[in-house]
């Protein structure tokens, strides 16, 4: 893959397709599993059914666990929820469609600042401010997506540059964003005249958004677009050769990922009641990438699990705060060496083994 990305060697583009990785699930074909199941065997869920079962399971835990534990766990739940929304978007973009972004936190930043500024300056209620923020991040994502004409590696470095530029604008446009001091006194989240003042109210609002985003992306990933994304992620040249308009789908993947980050960002100031440019640095972009890697690249539930792990673990390792980033780095390297498909991959393997033993 790496050599194909160097456009300086045009020969690499003409690599014989026999060497291409197989496009598993990329093309619509006969549904093999389930349909031709011999009668009398135990019921096996199809891939789609299995994904929705996992969806139900993950969402049940995500809704019930923080609420039943309450207190600090609920607060952590608030932080996990918006990170999970951003991680889902990033997973679709990076893990599924293979469009690596190194500046994802910047889009959360655009969403967060746009929401607060629309609420505080223009007195908009949250749904309108959130809509505006998502529209703005979508536009910014679309702008960044224009850079896909840069080849492979160059696009990655450009996304990094995009993140740096957005961060510096946020940190230095003092009259609009308050500069490095940030914005304090964020008003409570208000929907239709009802102010969500308690943690539980806010949690419910966030979880509704998370559930919707997860369901939407899951639905999407089972359809035509999802198949095209996976084909892109596995082998872009092969995807193009079977007639998938790769440029259009790359732009869709990038824009969707950025829009999800914007939505996540619009909840963030309400959770912390404060935002500053510090929350949207390059480090935060890396943390989001670690979330989806630890959870399992390409797995939507993995993104949520990864977000939960990377938010909750550091809280219980507070005494080692100075080792936090070191631990993140080691975790990233170890998770790729020991479990290349992340926590989701481990769980899937375990489930398959259980299933085999049962039948």
């Amino acid at each position: 893959m790496s050599r194909q990305e160097a456009q300086a060697k045009p020969m690499a583009q003409a690599k014989p397709l026999t060497q291409a990785k197989p496009l598993v699930g990329a093309l619509p074909g006969p549904r093999s599993r389930g349909a031709a199941r011999p009668a009398g065997r135990a019921w096996r869920p199809t891939e789609t059914q299995r994904d929705w079962l996992v969806f139900a399971l993950v969402m049940a835990v995500a809704w019930l666990l923080p609420v039943s534990l309450g207190g600090f766990a609920l607060y952590l739940g608030l932080i996990v929820a918006f990170h999970a929304i951003a991680a889902l978007g990033l997973q679709l973009m990076v893990g599924v469609a293979g469009q690596l972004s190194l500046g994802h936190a910047a889009f959360m930043g655009i969403g967060a600042y746009a929401t607060v500024i629309l609420e505080k300056r223009f007195g908009l209620s949250f749904p309108l401010a959130c809509l505006g923020a998502v529209a703005l991040t979508t536009a910014a994502g679309l702008l960044m997506a224009q850079l896909i004409r840069l080849n492979g590696v160059y696009f990655k470095i450009a996304t990094f540059g995009f993140g740096v530029i957005v961060h510096q604008i946020i940190a230095n446009w003092v009259s609009l964003t308050g500069g490095t001091a940030g914005i304090t006194g964020v008003p409570p989240l208000t929907i239709a005249g009802y102010a969500l003042r308690t943690r539980l109210d806010l949690f419910i609002a966030e979880m509704v958004a998370l559930t919707l985003v997860y369901a939407l992306l899951l639905r999407l990933s089972h359809g035509r677009i999802g198949r095209a994304f996976r084909a892109l992620g596995q082998n872009e040249t092969a995807a193009r050769s079977v007639g998938i308009p790769t440029d259009a789908y790359r732009m869709i993947a990038i824009t969707l990922g950025c829009a999800a980050a914007g939505l996540a960002g619009s909840f963030m100031p309400h959770v912390f009641r404060f935002i500053s440019p510090e929350s949207f640095t390059w480090h935060e972009s890396v943390v989001l990438l670690i979330m989806i890697t630890v959870g399992g690249l390409g797995s939507l539930p993995g993104a949520i699990v990864g977000a939960a792990l990377l938010v909750v673990l550091p809280e219980y390792l507070r005494d080692f705060a100075q080792y936090k980033m070191l631990a993140y780095g080691v975790l990233l390297i170890a998770s790729m060496a020991l479990m290349p498909r992340g926590v989701a991959g481990l769980l899937a393997d375990a489930a398959r083994r259980l299933g085999r033993r049962a039948s």
């Binding site: 160097a6 300086a8 004409r149 790729m336």
Partner: protein
């Protein structure tokens, strides 16, 4: 007056970016790997130089350069052997490799923080505060080192890549690994050599940069501008990396002066994105 000083500081910082970018480009060429840890390798080099100067009181500056380069080369070999070669060998995905280099960068910078502390340090050498007057312009003395060492190193690299067996082997393997392998050039050898040389050059950049700035565990962040330099000068091209370094160095110095110094990093990346939009594979890339 101030224009010349600005020009000199732009050229000096441009040389530093260029040196880091050369290492970045070499690794990309040899392994097709985008090594986001290159800036942190530079940081480790700067700290190794600090250790040399702090341990041997009164040691000359060149000893810090040599010590840092050797130490970093060994570190580069270890990292290549333990982390990258296995992943490259099993043809891991690019996303995966980029994340791996990010992880190594995080471990390096935070490991350095544990070893050398969170507070920035200053090189214990007179060079740090020394000013020389060249043609009536007061300039930091280390600029002379940069002005001498950078061309020397580039000349040495040129000789290495055109006159020595190893240099030719590296180029051959970069162009066509399979054919090179039939001539007895092992992939392991080329990636080890490229990594060691690239980290040593990164360390050199770190030591040369240290007297102008502080040495701290997060100084690898300036290495990211070296990526911009390497990218705009076409990844894999060594002259391109150097030219890219100068463009970014001069561009951010003068651009910062014209617009606002707070936006220096943005200016560097804006230049890179603008160049890449015009030439999608960089200045040295083949015209498509």
């Amino acid at each position: 007056m101030s224009f010349v000083i600005q020009l000199m500081s732009g050229l000096a910082i441009g040389s530093i970016y260029g040196l880091v970018a050369v290492g970045f480009s070499m690794i990309y060429r040899a392994m097709g790997l985008v090594n986001f840890a290159q800036g942190d390798m530079m940081m480790v080099g700067a700290f190794l130089g600090y250790t040399v100067l702090a341990t041997f009181a009164g040691a000359p500056f060149w000893l810090a350069i040599v010590g840092a380069m050797l130490g970093a080369a060994v570190l580069g070999l270890v990292i290549e052997r333990l982390a990258f070669r296995p992943s490259v060998k099993r043809k891991a995905d690019q996303v995966y490799l980029v994340l791996l280099t990010l992880g190594i960068g995080i471990v390096l910078s935070n490991g350095a923080r544990l070893i050398w502390g969170a507070n920035p340090v200053v090189y214990p050498t007179p060079l740090t505060h020394e000013i020389v007057v060249v043609a009536g312009y007061p300039l930091p003395a280390v600029y002379l080192y940069i002005a001498v060492v950078t061309p020397l190193l580039l000349a040495a690299l040129h000789l290495f890549f055109t006159r020595t067996w190893l240099g030719l082997a590296l180029r051959a393997a970069a162009d066509d690994p399979e054919t090179a392998a039939t001539f007895g050039i092992r992939a392991g050898l080329t990636s080890s050599a490229s990594f060691a040389i690239a980290t040593a050059i990164g360390a050199l950049a770190g030591v040369l940069y240290a007297p102008i700035a502080f040495v701290s565990f997060d100084m690898g962040a300036i290495g990211v501008k070296a990526f911009a330099a390497a990218a705009l000068g076409t990844l894999g091209s060594i002259p391109g990396a150097v030219i890219g370094g100068f463009i970014i160095g001069l561009g951010e110095t003068f651009g910062g002066q014209l617009i606002a110094t707070e936006y220096q990093d943005s200016i560097a990346f804006a230049i890179m994105i603008a160049v890449l939009i015009l030439r999608p594979t960089g200045l040295m890339g083949a015209r498509s």
